[in-house]
């Protein structure tokens, strides 16, 4: 469903229905699916960067509102003012959706701090990229999370690239899980492509954090199949075709399908039927989103403040 949804986003982008920057999660889905499966829905918090379409879809957000937001329509979660990089569904505990690399990591620690303050047993997952794991504010956040025993799991999604810069060109120590060690944070490197394995690991760690009320750092090894963003159309600048082909063999969805067939858990017919159903659902989502109107010009002033309007006019 996420894969088809984002395929459709890519089509919408090429049709000119989506502008600006749009980053898809294609290839990395098993990570968010597996980890979210270990969370208490509507209770535990999730925050991520700009590659943020998958999480709300998994967490039960309205996919039409997600796609409408990506298209900048008034029916979107932020009424067209956020866009692809800034999706939020606070009611469902999804806190976005951030465009400054590494900038959201202290917010993740802050969400966990709020849970701790109120003595709630919520766990917060804060996703960040391998590139973001170099940011100073991330180290600052790790320190405070350890110092105050915040129940936050920092998940570094190591997809081997920060935009067009390969891991070894941006990180002195490429074993990113070790970044938790100086702060005494329990840290491990785990697979992010086999959804069943991810889920098992996630359950173990989420339970540990909930029980022990301490932070955790996980480096998840995954791979993005697409370009960094929709505007990245020359991936050969930073990685070879062979390398990509090799990695697409790790496709988490194909892997799950294979597992289900080989273990006679699902027939090929059933799988095909599901695929058809998903295609139809995504088509319907697209239709509804694209028919949502553009915002009215006067809406430009709304939501700048909660209790007043800004000065108007040019």
């Amino acid at each position: 469903m996420i894969r088809r949804f984002e395929d459709k986003c890519n089509i919408a982008y090429r049709q000119g229905l989506v502008g600006g920057y749009m980053h898809v999660y294609i290839g990395m889905e098993a990570t968010a699916v597996g980890w979210n499966a270990a969370l208490k829905p509507g209770w535990d918090y999730v925050i991520t960067a700009y590659r943020d379409h998958a999480q709300p879809l998994i967490m039960g957000s309205d996919p039409v509102k997600v796609m409408a937001e990506i298209m900048g329509r008034s029916g979107g979660y932020s009424f067209g003012k956020g866009g692809s990089m800034h999706i939020y569904d606070i009611e469902n505990c999804f806190f976005g959706g951030w465009g400054i690399v590494g900038g959201h990591t202290p917010l993740g620690a802050g969400l966990a701090f709020a849970a701790k303050y109120r003595k709630e047993d919520r766990v917060t997952i804060c996703y960040l990229g391998d590139g973001a794991s170099n940011a100073g504010v991330f180290f600052e956040s790790l320190n405070m999370a350890a110092l105050w025993d915040l129940p936050v799991i920092f998940i570094i999604e190591n997809n081997e690239f920060a935009m067009g810069t390969r891991l070894e060109y941006h990180a002195a120590d490429t074993q990113l899980y070790k970044r938790g060690e100086p702060f005494g944070i329990k840290s491990e490197r785990l697979d992010g492509m086999d959804v069943l394995q991810v889920k098992a690991d996630a359950e173990r760690i989420v339970n540990w954090v909930r029980e022990n009320q301490k932070p955790y750092l996980v480096e998840v090894m995954n791979y993005r199949f697409a370009g960094h963003g929709a505007a990245d159309n020359d991936r050969q600048l930073y990685r070879t075709k062979e390398e990509e082909d090799e990695n697409t063999k790790r496709d988490p969805i194909a892997r799950l399908e294979k597992y289900l067939t080989e273990n006679n858990l699902m027939t090929a017919e059933k799988m095909e039927a599901i695929n058809v159903e998903i295609e139809e659902r995504v088509e319907a989502i697209y239709e509804e989103a694209v028919n949502s109107p553009h915002p009215e010009p006067h809406e430009v002033y709304a939501h700048v403040y909660s209790d007043m309007e800004p000065e108007k006019g040019h």
Partner: protein
């Protein structure tokens, strides 16, 4: 001296290449500027050209740590190197404000003249297309507020070329802002090793007698369009390109206002507290007796930049907005 037609982007790159070739101390650092060729392609081809050996450090891909790499550049500059730091967009330079304002801008003063910081911080500033609230800032007014920095915002390919070369040779930290809407515009550019445009000199891009339109960066082109439209109805507008905010050439602006007796300042930054407010207030203060009407101002809407193209266009001043301000002057 040779002249050729160049885009703003190519003029910038040409100036950069010439300065790298001229002075061993010049090096370039930033995010994705090397192997990836630069987000807005200003540094295209430079990595292949200059990073031939393992130990070549002319073109440096940095991690995504604006405070960290800006600080490294400042330290290097204090020893006499001349770093050119690219901000992928000026919006990201906010992370490095501490390094730029608390450090770079104060070092010459605090060391009693013992040290200088000859560095350039350049990058796209202002709205591109639907990059929404966190990628569209015009920050030149913030920087122009800060003594110790120089701030320039060239509007033409010629100035991109000659002001960039000037910036690299300046011994002070220079903020060099490039509106992303300008990268593809073309113009005749006179090139040469010493084609430099000293800062603090505004230019009159179009002469007129009824009204002065004062702007910098991309808004200069909006004003030129307005001047065309006004000419059709028999109004002769003069267009002044400020191009250097700090230092600011008030004299050229005042001369124009003394001739036309009317002025409108146009800028993309948030209208409230933006640099255009500074220019307008100076005209009001210093040319009060020459003015037949209050100084007009057209600025960006006072809201975070929305993602929707409809709303984004609502925010950025255009020729219609300036025409409305002209009518208001009477």
């Amino acid at each position: 001296m040779p002249t050729q037609e160049l885009s703003y982007r190519d003029a910038l790159r040409m100036a950069l290449v010439e300065e790298i070739d001229r002075d061993q101390n010049v090096f370039v650092m930033g995010e994705d500027i090397g192997r990836y060729q630069g987000t807005f392609r200003v540094t295209e081809g430079l990595f292949q050209k200059y990073n031939v050996e393992q130990n070549d450090w002319r073109i440096i891909d940095t991690p995504i740590v604006e405070p960290g790499f800006t600080g490294i550049a400042i330290g290097a500059a204090m020893t006499g190197l001349r770093p050119v730091v690219e901000m992928m967009t000026m919006s990201f330079s906010i992370l490095a404000l501490d390094q730029i304002i608390n450090h770079a801008a104060k070092i010459h003063y605090m060391t009693g003249g013992q040290s200088t910081v000859p560095m350039v911080i350049r990058g796209p500033g202002g709205a591109a297309k639907q990059l929404s609230a966190q990628h569209s800032h015009s920050l030149e007014g913030w920087y122009a507020h800060c003594p110790g920095l120089k701030v320039v915002a060239p509007a033409t390919p010629q100035d991109a070329y000659s002001m960039f070369k000037q910036a690299v040779r300046d011994d002070n930290p220079v903020i060099f802002t490039e509106n992303p809407g300008l990268y593809t515009i073309k113009g005749e550019v006179t090139t040469g090793p010493d084609v430099l445009q000293p800062f603090g000199k505004a230019q009159v891009l179009r002469e007129g007698k009824d009204l002065s339109l004062v702007a910098y960066s991309r808004m200069v082109h909006v004003c030129l369009e307005v001047a065309d439209r006004l000419a059709e109805v028999g109004i002769s507008a003069e267009v002044v390109d400020v191009r250097s905010l700090l230092p600011l050439d008030t004299e050229t602006i005042y001369q124009s206002v003394r001739k036309t007796n009317r002025a409108i300042v146009v800028y993309e930054d948030w209208k409230s507290g933006g640099f255009g407010a500074e220019i307008a207030s100076r005209i009001s203060e210093d040319c009060f007796d020459d003015l037949d009407a209050p100084v007009g101002r057209v600025g960006g809407l006072n809201v975070p930049m929305p993602y929707s193209r409809v709303l984004e266009l609502e925010c950025i001043p255009n020729a219609d907005d300036v025409m409305a301000a002209v009518r208001k002057l009477g």
